[in-house]
Amino acid sequence: MKSDDDLPDPAEASAEEQARADEQRRAVDDKSDAVVALLAAAVSPRDLDDEAHDRILAQALGAEALLPAVVEEAPADAAEIKAADGLRRALDGSPADRAEHPLASLAGALRAAHAPGSIAEIRNEALLRPALRGRAGGGPRVLYGAVAGALALAAGIAGLWISGASDGPDTPAASLDGMVEVRSTAPLFSVEDFPQGMGPDRKDTTSERIDKITSARSADLRNNRYRAWGLD
């Protein structure tokens, strides 16, 4: 074993050795040095804080319920805020929006399993009748028309089903013979129903036009229902 006298004089350390010594000192001070950490853990082990213990326990038991305080309070970064906003928009959006978003879709599945709704009688008829008539080609398919707002919804219900002979494999469609189909509203109006401009002597006829469409489509819907029920 060497005595202290055999060690090199610290005063003669090179600048490079001095720099390494400074670096080592800092590592010892902040306990980032592996050897120092090992020595400290052996000599004076610290307690595990509650949060860390909860995390480890929850990981082992597979239950996040054991994480009482740490789940929500961590600040969200920009990416998470954007993702949360995307989820909100999907949840507030159309069924197609929800189907596109994985978490919104999961929310829908959750709701469907928890409190499944019933199928409308007329919808059930639309699915049943093609089956009872027997399959033709690729089978019964139902094509949902895109509807916008209440008027389009009424029109959609009135003539929702069209023949599915040319539908793709993923497009459901059913056919109800004799039912009124989706069609243009143009035949309901004459040129006078659409005045050009909105000058002081012009009357806004929007409400009247909407009333006319609503009335016509309500009649279509009524007739389709009667036909679906076999009452025509």
Partner: protein, 249 residues
């Protein structure tokens, strides 16, 4: 699991006059406090058997009456809860009808009625769809495969329509509850209030004591957490040696 919801059947499930219900059977299980009250009501046995015989002989009108009586129950308790989407469940119902029409000649009358057979057909359709799809789902194909196996093992000695429907609905709710119980209580609450009860986000945020913007993040975290919990549950289920679950059998 004991009785729960006390709701009237929606108007769309009020059966036409030609369906002769069996009043004593409709709510028997519910009255006994064993199962949830449900909307399905089986046809009177003699009439149902007669309709089945006629349908088997090719009478589409008779088959139509059977399917009008039981189709909505298949949709509500078998297809929609398992497929998780109205559009997909309606596709599945259309396919179920088509397959029943094609294969009803293979059906053999059982004392429990025709509903258990229809249910297996619907579950097979749902199983095919679940296997083919890639979207998020509460049920895994293995869940359905086990249920089909169980139903086929029960054969003609199984329960009738109303018990099966109550059991299917309860199983789906149990699946939801089990998954939610894996979450942090605040996450569970966020999902229950916003997703299951469909309350406005402002109201839920207020109830949870956070801003609306924070609530959006909480809900996102909650659903992400749920997704992981479901994956974990499915993994644990698949890892069981006998592959059986603990749902009502």
């Amino acid at each position: 699991m004991t009785a729960l919801a006390l709701h009237s059947p929606p108007p769309s499930l009020v059966f036409p006059g030609w369906v002769n219900l069996v009043p004593g059977m409709v709510h028997r299980a519910w009255r006994a406090g064993m199962v949830r009250r449900v909307a399905v009501a089986r046809l009177e046995t003699t009439l149902e058997r007669e309709l089945c015989e006629r349908a088997k002989a090719g009478d589409r009108t008779a088959l139509g009456k059977i399917l009008r009586a039981y189709g909505p129950a298949l949709y509500r308790s078998v297809l929609l809860p398992r497929l998780g989407s109205e559009a997909i469940a309606q596709d599945a119902l259309a396919e179920t009808y088509a397959r029943v029409v094609e294969r009803f000649d293979q059906y053999t009358w059982q004392d429990c009625g025709v509903y258990p057979w229809l249910r297996v057909v619907a579950m097979r359709i749902a199983l095919d769809i679940l296997r083919a799809r890639k979207r998020e789902s509460l049920f895994e194909p293995e869940d359905l495969a086990r249920e089909i196996d169980r139903a086929e093992r029960a054969g003609g000695g199984g329960p009738d329509a109303e018990v099966l429907e109550a059991r299917d609905l309860e199983a789906a709710r149990t699946k939801v509850d089990t998954a939610l119980k894996q979450l942090n209580p605040r996450y569970e609450r966020a999902i229950r209030l916003r997703v299951l009860e469909e309350r406005p986000r402002e109201e839920v945020a207020n109830e949870l004591g956070v801003t609306v913007a924070t609530f959006d993040v909480v809900l996102h975290r909650a659903l992400t957490s749920l997704k992981k919990a479901i994956a974990k549950m499915d993994g644990q289920l698949a890892a069981r040696p006998d592959g059986r679950d603990t749902e009502a059998s």
